[in-house]
């Protein structure tokens, strides 16, 4: 890849790490759109525990991996909730990037044999891809 692409990638990852590592602590903790819809018919207390009524949410069961080391966006054993949430976010971004970029890299189209999908791709993209291939080879 060209230097500009590396810079974009690094910049984007930095933004994602900041969002997941720091800003995530200021996220709203209210039930989300799906949960609130499923709570219709029930009354909840200040901690969003169901106190009475009947609603779909009552059928919810525990997650298979509810005791996992990163379950519920916290790191097991870290007491400080700010650090716990932030650290789990940072790990999540890195793991997602590793799986995503790694997986897509393995799936990518190799060689310069054009396929019918290339019809929609303009030449600049092809040029860049060719340059980057040459770059990796050297």
């Amino acid at each position: 890849m060209k230097n500009r692409s590396w810079a974009f990638l690094a910049g984007g990852l930095l933004v994602a790490l900041l969002l997941a590592g720091v800003v995530s602590n200021y996220a709203s903790s209210h039930p989300d759109g799906l949960d609130s819809s499923l709570l219709k018919g029930c009354t909840v207390d200040a901690d969003d525990n169901i106190v009475e009524g009947s609603c779909p949410a009552q059928q919810a069961r525990d997650h298979e991996l509810a005791d996992g080391p990163l379950a519920d966006y916290g790191v097991r054993g870290v007491r400080n909730s700010f650090v716990s949430t932030g650290l789990s976010g940072v790990l999540g971004v890195l793991v997602t990037f590793a799986i995503g970029a790694g997986g897509f890299w393995l799936l990518r189209r190799r060689g310069s044999t054009p396929t019918d999908g290339d019809v929609a791709t303009p030449t600049p993209a092809e040029d860049d891809a060719a340059t980057s291939r040459a770059g990796t080879a050297s």
């Binding site: 890849m1 500009r4 692409s5 974009f8 990852l13 933004v15 994602a16 969002l19 997941a20 995530s24 996220a27 709203s28 903790s29 209210h30 039930p31 989300d32 759109g33 799906l34 949960d35 609130s36 819809s37 219709k40 909840v44 169901i50 779909p56 059928q59 919810a60 069961r61 997650h63 298979e64 991996l65 996992g68 990163l70 379950a71 519920d72 966006y73 976010g89 999540g92 971004v93 793991v95 997602t96 799986i99 995503g100 970029a101 997986g103 897509f104 890299w105 799936l107 990518r108 189209r109 999908g117 929609a120 791709t121 303009p122 600049p124 993209a125 860049d128 891809a129 291939r133 990796t136």
Partner: protein
Amino acid sequence: MQTLAMHISNGIIDGPVAAIFAALALAALTVCVLRGRRDLDDRLAPMAGLVAAFIFAVQMLNFPIFTAGVSGHLLGGALAAMLVGPWVGALCVAVVLVVQALIFGDGGVAMLGLNITNMALLGTAAAYALIALLLRVLPRTRAGLAVTAFVAAMLSVVVASQGFVLQYWLGGTTDLGGNLAGLAGTMAGVHLLIGIGEGLITATTVLTVAKVRPDLVYALRSLRAPAAPLVPVAGGVR
């Protein structure tokens, strides 16, 4: 109640229906892999990884909506479709959902097929259909791009929410007493409001990328290519 993130929890939809949707999602993702490979070159592959990582990060940021006591967060299908195309985009959202279910205990593992169907497949497909339509009819300006991103993102969230209603109709574990329309209405209303947030985040992100690296916006490359060769020069987006 623990914080959940707009993902279906275990027990909400019954086992057989969850299994059917798991098979359906797997088949659809296979098609995405086959078609997505055509788009994936040395440059797009790492960028798609970045899109997945970015969606994971932003999904942690629940924002309040106008209704008191309810929050929402980005689903990301429209953002992914805009930046890396519909096939790879759906795979990006699916990667996020798999990581969330298997590592963060968010969205039941048994419910993964349902969640992937709604958010990765339905959301992304609806978004891309709208993007393809709007980019053709709207003026080729930054405003046109912003409106495309906003509208596609907002409506894709509502479509995804109705996917859940369909699944609940097929295998919901609580008898709604025939009031499925009530659930559909509640879900649509709440998700229209969440969709405004989704639209703002998607439009902001797409505009930022289009300003820095217009060549990295898939929708601009593939949907506008014949008329305007997109060399990253000043004003290339216009």
